[in-house]
Subunit: 381 residues, 2 copies
C-alpha cells in the first residue's frame, strides 16, 4: 500500500526513447529528466539546504544505510522525519542500503538478509528487506527503494542469475513490508551485463508491481558501452507510463545518452564530490579551479551561469580559497556544480519538448565527449 | 590624507564610559558598539558572504598579512578590490600585519621593519609601515590599521618602552605613506600593562592624528584584570569624538566590560573558531553541541534566536553533523555564532540608548560569568 506516483509523460522524442515528464510526489512536483544530488549522511556536503532551490535542485537522495547507523531512523522519525531533520523542503528519495552493503568486502549474505560491520565504526549490523523498509518508512522519504542484491560489474553469469532471483524474492518481501501510504516504493531491476538476465529481472520486478522502476547494478565497473546497452535494453522492458531511474549515473555525457535510452531519473555524487577537489562543471567543459592558469583569472567560473557562485565570485577567488584550504571554496564549488547539473537537465528537458534533442546532445558532446568517465576521487561518500 | 571617519556618539551611559554611536564608512553605516568577525584569508570560514547580513554582521576584519602572501594585494586590486573579490558588501577593516608578524618566533626587527618567513610556506618576507600601507591601500578596505610593534603580555618594561617609541615612529611613517582618500586610517596605542607607557603611547599616537584609535597589545596573555584596567586607562586618553577599537577581544563577558570602559569596536576569531569545534554561543550560555546530551534534543540550538540555523535545525541535527564530520555543521554553527554576537551587541547598544546598561550586563553575566576566558582551540586562524 503506497502512494501511487503521479507520473505524466508530457512529450516523447521522435528519434530516441527520451521523454519529458512530470513526477508528483508528496513534497512537490519534479520535472523529468531529473538529476538528484546525494546527501549521504543527511546533508549535502558543505551546502546549507536553503541554497538548494536556488541551484535548481528539485529532489535529493539520502542514504538509509548511513542514517540507520547515525543518527538512527528512530530519532529522525521522533524529530518529525527526514525533511524536517535536514531542513529540506524538496522531495527526497532514500536508497535501501543494498548498494552500500554489497560494496563491503566482508559480509554474510543469507536468504534472510545481510550481516556486516558498519564501515565507519565496525558495529555489527543486519539488513533485510523488512528492516530496510522499516528504516525508510521511519525516515519518511518521498520515495523508498527496494532492498536488492547488487553484484560487481565483473560478476560471473551464474552468480548474477542467482542474485536476480534473490532480488525478486526480496522485492516481494519489500512490497509486503511497505505500508506507508504517503511514500512511494520503487523496485530495482538487476541482471548485470547479461541481457537475458536483465529481461528476467525486469519481468519479475514489474510483475510484483511498484510505483516506479530503477535499474541497479550498472556503473559498477563494467564498460561504458555495456552500461548503455543494458540501460537501453532494460528501460525498454519497463512500463512506459512509470518513472525509470538509473542509479549512480553520472557524468554529463552519460546523462544525455541514458536519457536518450528512456531514463527519467538519476543520482550521482559527482557534483558534490568533485566540488571538494575543486572540479567545476561548466558549459565549456570541466574546470579544475586549482590549476595555476586560474590564479589571476577575473572571470566567473562559468560565464554563462547565473548561480550565486558565478554571479558573485571570480575564478581567481575560488582558486585562492582552494589554495589556502578555505572551506568556503567547497561550498561555492558545490553550489555551482548543482546549478550546472540542474541547468543541464532543464535544457535537456526543454530540447525534448521542442524536438531538438539531437542538436542539444551534439552541443554538449562537444565539451563532454563520450568517453569513459574519469575516475572519481577515492574519498568515501 | 584619508577619508575622515564620520563618527557620532548618539548616547553616553551615565554610570560608565559606554556609548552608543554611529560610524559612517565608505561601504555603509555601522552602529556601535560593533563586533567584527574575522575573515582571515579573504573568507569567513565556511560561510558564504551572502549570509552575513542575515546574521546581523555589520563589518568584518580581513588580514593584510595573509592576503599579501596569498593571493597578493596586486591581484585583489586588479580584480576590483577586496570587497568585490570576497563578494562582501559590508565595510571591511584590514589589520596591518603587525600582530601576526610579532606572533612569529623567528623574525628580525629593525627600525626599517620586520624580516620573517611566512608561517605557511616559509617564504622570506619583509614588512614595514610603508609596505603595510601599500598593501592595505591596494586591498581597498574601509579602514586600514597602522603597522605597530606588538609585544607579548609578559614583556619587560624596558622592552615595552622601546616598542612604544618605535610604534610611534612607525605610526608617523604610516600616516605619511597613506594617501588613499576613500580609506580611513586608525592608529594603534601600545604600552603593555604599564599605565605610564600606555599614557605615553596614547599621547604620541593621538598627537600624530588618526581617524580612529585602536588599543593593541592586550588579550595577549596578561591577566584579565590587567586587560580591563589597561583598556579603561587607555580609552580615557583617547578623543571622545572618535571611534575606539580594542583588538582581539573577545568573549561575551569581555565585550560587556570593555564597552563599559569606553570601547566601540571589537574583533575576535571566537565565533568562527569555536563554531569549528562545535561550540555555540547562546543567551543561556555556551553549548558544546558535540556533547551526548544533545543527541536526541529536538530544540533549536538557541530557543531565543531567530537565525537561519535556529529557525531551521535541531540540536540533534547539529550534533549529528559534527558526529559524522559533515562540513555543514561548521557552517551552521558559524551562522548561529555570528548571529549571537551581533544580537548581543545590538541588545547592548539598545540598553545604552535606554539607560539600562547595568541591568543588561547583570543579565548576561549570569550566563557568561566574568572569569578568565576558557582558552581557544589551538588551531591557527
Amino acid at each position: 500500500m503506497t502512494c501511487p506516483v503521479q507520473f505524466t509523460v508530457e512529450h516523447g522524442d521522435r528519434h530516441s526513447s527520451a521523454r519529458a515528464g512530470r513526477l508528483a510526489l508528496r513534497n512537490g512536483v519534479v520535472l523529468t529528466p531529473v538529476f538528484m544530488p546525494v546527501g549521504t549522511q543527511g546533508a549535502l556536503r558543505g551546502l546549507p539546504p536553503e541554497y538548494l532551490p536556488a541551484t535548481g535542485t528539485q529532489m535529493i537522495l539520502a542514504n538509509a544505510y548511513h542514517l540507520h547507523q547515525r543518527p538512527g531512523e528512530g530519532l529522525v522519525e521522533k524529530l518529525g522525519g527526514l525533511h524536517r531533520f535536514m531542513g529540506v523542503g524538496l522531495p527526497i528519495l532514500t536508497d535501501s542500503g543494498g548498494f552500500q552493503v554489497f560494496s563491503l568486502d566482508k559480509k554474510e549474505v543469507s536468504e534472510q538478509g545481510v550481516q556486516f560491520r558498519y564501515q565507519l565504526d565496525g558495529k555489527q549490523t543486519f539488513l533485510s528487506p523488512e528492516i530496510s523498509m522499516s528504516i525508510q518508512q521511519s525516515l519518511g522519504s518521498d520515495v523508498a527503494m527496494a532492498f536488492d542484491e547488487c553484484l560487481p560489474g565483473d560478476a560471473a553469469r551464474a552468480k548474477v542469475a542467482a542474485s536476480v532471483d534473490r532480488t525478486a524474492r526480496w522485492a516481494e518481501r519489500c512490497r509486503a513490508a511497505h505500508h506507508r501510504a504517503d511514500q512511494s516504493l520503487f523496485g530495482i531491476v538487476q541482471g548485470g551485463v547479461y541481457p537475458d538476465l536483465r529481461s528476467r529481472s525486469a519481468a519479475q520486478i514489474t510483475g510484483i508491481g511498484f510505483d516506479g522502476y530503477a535499474i541497479g547494478g550498472l556503473a559498477v565497473g563494467e564498460e561504458r558501452e555495456q552500461m548503455l546497452d543494458m540501460t537501453a535494453h532494460t528501460a525498454g522492458l519497463l512500463p512506459s507510463d512509470q518513472p525509470r531511474y538509473l542509479m549512480g549515473v553520472g557524468q554529463p555525457q552519460d546523462l544525455l545518452d541514458c536519457v536518450c535510452r528512456g531514463i527519467d531519473m538519476f543520482d550521482c555524487v559527482i557534483p558534490t564530490r568533485h566540488a571538494r577537489s575543486g572540479v567545476l562543471y561548466t558549459f565549456r567543459g570541466r574546470v579544475r579551479i586549482t590549476d595555476k592558469r586560474y590564479r589571476r583569472d577575473g572571470y566567473p567560473p562559468d560565464t554563462s551561469c547565473g548561480c550565486t557562485t558565478c554571479s558573485t565570485f571570480s575564478r581567481a577567488y575560488l582558486h585562492h580559497l582552494f589554495r589556502v584550504g578555505e572551506l568556503l571554496g567547497v561550498t561555492l564549488a558545490a553550489i555551482h556544480n548543482l546549478a550546472f547539473f540542474s541547468q543541464l537537465m532543464a535544457e535537456l528537458r526543454q530540447s525534448i519538448l521542442q524536438d531538438r534533442l539531437a542538436e542539444f546532445c551534439r552541443q554538449i558532446e562537444r565539451v563532454y565527449p563520450q568517453k569513459r568517465a574519469e575516475s572519481l576521487p577515492p574519498e568515501q561518500e
